[in-house]
């Protein structure tokens, strides 16, 4: 968990506007968290506190929502997020082996970020392009029909 998180002036301004817009929306808490993550990249406790204060709900309720859903991040992510699909179609075609290869190469487990904050490794649910199975994504880029042998090549592309 981050200590003394401070957002930039633009981030705070953008988020103020979001909170204002949500004043008239029924059931605004998830929308607030989604927008906050868009703006700040993740959900430091300071940002959660602001949402709690704004809508006058206990912080634990906000924290409860933030930890319930897998897409909310309480910690910052790496520059590149590698998402390996473990949906059924990909799994039966060997995506588990691909994930293991990435774990071995990066020295981290699924859900973790490398110490240099370059790569985050995620095991994802079906991303819906089963025709390309096994599939993985690096940020927005999609790689299809991936084999264990492709792992080095893919990592090399992000060697900047």
């Amino acid at each position: 968990m981050s200590n003394n998180f401070v957002g930039t002036a633009e981030q705070d301004k953008a988020f103020d506007e979001v909170l204002k817009e949500l004043e008239s929306v029924p059931g605004p808490l998830m929308k607030a968290l989604q927008k906050a993550q868009e703006i700040y990249g993740y959900l430091p406790i300071e940002v959660q506190t602001r949402i709690a204060d704004k809508f006058d709900v206990p912080l634990e309720e906000i924290y409860g929502i933030a930890t319930f859903y897998s897409q909310f991040n309480l910690n910052p992510k790496g520059k590149y997020t590698i998402g390996i699909c473990l949906g059924t179609a990909c799994y039966v075609k060997g995506s588990g082996d691909v994930l293991n290869k990435f774990k071995e190469k990066l020295g981290i487990d699924a859900g973790q970020t490398t110490p240099d904050r370059k790569f985050t490794l995620d095991a994802t649910r079906c991303i819906g392009c089963c025709g390309l199975a096994p599939v993985l994504t690096v940020n927005e880029e999609v790689y299809g029909k991936v084999t264990v042998d492709d792992v080095d090549k893919i990592l090399a592309k992000y060697n900047d």
Binding site: P26, G27, P28, L29, M30, K31, A32, L33, Q34, G64, I65, F68, Y69, S70, Q71, F72, L86, G87, T88, A89, Y91, V92, K93, D97, R125, C126, I127, G128, C129, C130, G131, L132, A133, V135, V142, G144
Partner: protein, 624 residues
């Protein structure tokens, strides 16, 4: 704001344009010579179809044909395995695996030169040796597209094209010619059942919501499609978003609601975008708003995005999440029709269910009920995946056999392998063994054989898949996604998973199998919501049809499919080994020894069972 008259004028005008996308149809636009359709579904977009469209556009401008040729980005065509897909009308040329660098060739050779690009055409040919047009291929021939009628045909971001397909005519019909009860009666008589998995009669659900008395009611669309391997709803939203909006408006009229929510998973960015565009266009035309289509009723729709929780597909959890809370299910009754979103009566249906509504209203309940079986009417969309040649989206009349889906439409199992089982219903469903391949697919037949319709994922497995491993895979998913509210699901499934893990590691006893079965029934009977109540189904159905595989793991300490690593040992068959040394060089842990041109051997103590040697051996001499 458009008047009914103006909407009708758009329909007439656009119909002339759309009839150009009928094979053999007369090209009705005098100054247009072709329509090029590029698939903009998620699968093809991942294959870079946006870039293909850009390149085609550039080539059209270069040849000066950009005024005479229409370029349209559509929703999913369905045959994802062959994507990215490009279709050219009026001849219906069906291009597959198109790359951006092929774009120029299509424009120069086909559009300008009049000769289709042979090497990119779908390989199926007719008796005369000509390549088949898209609708003649075996993948499409046996399908009946009701829900998918507009997918891969219209531009989902252009409301005028939807209007041309009789869009918003069904809403006009119910507002001008039908009472609320007549609408509900029409849906009831059609026999439509919920397509989200449960199969509850849709008309009855509407009636319940209608009968609840309240000033405020809501219509909700469940677009939180979370089953691994399922992408039916996503494709409908991406390919034909207006059909869902119109159906929700009709539902709003029938039950007396003025506001609708679409809860869509955030993992579907293209679907979210197209919904936003569609809602915006519908508002601009005055179709959504305070006086919808000028017919005197108010209706508007708001999108709510999920944030990655499978349990939110369960209706009470979905309503909690729509309210911005933790998506935990609650006890029913009260049912949402009585007490739902923000405590008000709420009608909640799935995307595909809504996808049928306008067609039932326009064509009548009898037309719809003429398709399907006695108790399952209409069609069902399936997402075909796994070990099948034609991975993709198919829509078939209820009652079609599994054999037709797999062998005819799906093109069979790749690499000449043997079909072993099909899994329907995702983590809530079960496996159908090869011996039941002639089962007619409908709600009741699937339940009778221990599976369920589910939302429509259909995963094909071959002889290389271990059924214990598959059951374990699904259970791991459910354990991960259990919200933790009720004990049978939270702890029961975890214990069940641990027992399965023991089976795959060869440390289970025979009596564990009986214990597992007992635990399965306990979880089913005592869990709070659909997630827990169905979670043991993959285990129960594999125990029922593939018990011998479980027994092999437990008693013989063997995994017949060679999947469970702890139970597999690799060995080189001496007679087949030619001593080429490829396996030795590729073994990551130096577990293989032997001189060139001599027989090689594997040291089981060192072997990590990675399979690298099997993949490299030119003689297939390595067995497990």
């Amino acid at each position: 704001m458009k008047t009914l008259q103006e909407l009708q004028e758009i329909r007439e005008r656009m119909k002339t344009c759309l009839c150009n996308r009928e094979i053999g149809g007369v090209f009705a636009e005098a100054d247009v010579r072709a329509h090029i359709l590029v698939c903009g579904g998620t699968g093809c977009t991942s294959g870079n179809s946006k870039k293909i469209a850009e390149e085609i556009k550039a080539a059209l401008i270069e040849t000066g044909l950009d005024k005479e040729v229409k370029l349209i980005m559509t929703g999913c065509f369905g045959l994802c395995a062959k994507g990215p897909i490009v279709v050219v009308y009026p001849d219906g040329s069906f291009y597959q695996h198109v790359k951006p660098e092929d774009a120029r060739e299509i424009v120069f050779e086909h559009i300008k030169g009049g000769k289709p690009v042979e090497r990119l055409l779908h390989s199926e040919k007719d008796a005369d040796g000509a390549h088949k047009a898209i609708n003649e291929t075996s993948f499409y021939k046996s399908q009946k597209r009701v829900v998918l009628r507009n997918c891969g045909l219209i531009d989902p971001e252009n409301i005028d094209e939807y209007l041309a397909r009789d869009g918003y005519k069904a809403y006009e019909k119910v507002l001008t010619a039908m009472s609320q009860l007549e609408v509900i009666d029409e849906i009831k008589r059609s026999g439509l059942r919920g397509r989200g998995g449960g199969g509850f009669p849709t008309g009855t659900k509407w009636e319940f919501a209608h009968n609840s008395v309240s000033d405020t009611k809501y219509v909700v669309c469940n677009a939180d499609e979370g089953d691994p391997g399922a992408f039916m709803d996503r494709s409908v939203l991406e390919g034909d978003p207006h059909s869902v909006i119109e159906a929700m408006m009709i539902a709003g009229y029938a039950i007396g609601a003025e506001k609708g929510y679409i809860y869509v998973r955030a993992e579907y960015p293209i679907a979210v975008h197209r919904l936003e565009v569609a809602i915006g266009q519908a508002r601009e035309y005055g179709i959504l708003g305070d006086n919808a289509m000028g017919l005197g009723k108010k209706f508007d729709i708001e999108l709510r995005l999920g944030a990655g929780a499978f349990v939110c597909g369960e209706e009470t959890a979905l309503l909690q999440s729509t309210e911005g809370k933790r998506g935990e299910p609650r006890q029913r009754p009260p049912f949402p029709a009585v007490k739902g979103l923000f405590g008000q009566p709420t009608l909640i249906n799935n995307v595909e269910t809504y996808g049928n509504i306008t067609q039932i209203i326009l064509n009548g309940a009898e037309w719809f009920a003429s398709m399907g079986t006695e108790k399952s009417k209409g069609t069902k969309v399936f997402a075909l995946g796994g070990k099948i040649n034609n991975t993709g989206l198919v829509e078939i009349p209820m009652g079609t056999t599994l054999r037709t889906i797999i062998e005819e439409i799906g093109g069979g199992v790749p690499h000449g392998k043997k079909f072993k089982a099909a899994q329907t219903g995702g983590p809530s469903g079960g496996c159908i063994p090869a011996s039941l391949i002639d089962t007619k697919i409908d709600y009741d037949n699937l339940i009778a054989i221990g599976s369920m319709m589910g939302s429509g994922g259909l995963i094909v497995m071959d002889e290389d898949n271990c059924m214990v491993d598959i059951a374990k895979f699904f259970l791991e998913f459910t354990v991960d996604e259990s919200c933790g509210k009720c004990t049978p699901c939270r702890i029961g499934n975890k214990r069940l998973y641990e027992m399965l893990d023991k089976v795959t590691k060869g440390t289970a006893e025979m009596e564990d199998l009986d214990k597992m079965e007992e635990l399965c029934y306990y979880i089913k009977e005592n869990s709070l919501c659909g997630l827990g109540q169905t979670a043991p189904n993959p285990v129960l159905s594999t125990l029922r049809y593939f018990r011998d595989e479980y027994v092999a793991h437990v008693r013989d300490k063997k995994c017949p499919a060679g999947v469970c690593k702890a139970l597999v040992s690799y060995k080189i068959v001496e007679e087949k080994c030619i001593g080429c040394g490829l396996c030795k060089r590729n073994c990551p842990v130096n577990a293989i020894s032997g001189e060139i041109k001599q027989k090689h051997t594997i040291d089981p103590a060192k072997c990590i069972k990675c399979g690298a040697c099997i993949a490299r051996c030119p003689k297939g001499a390595i067995e497990k």
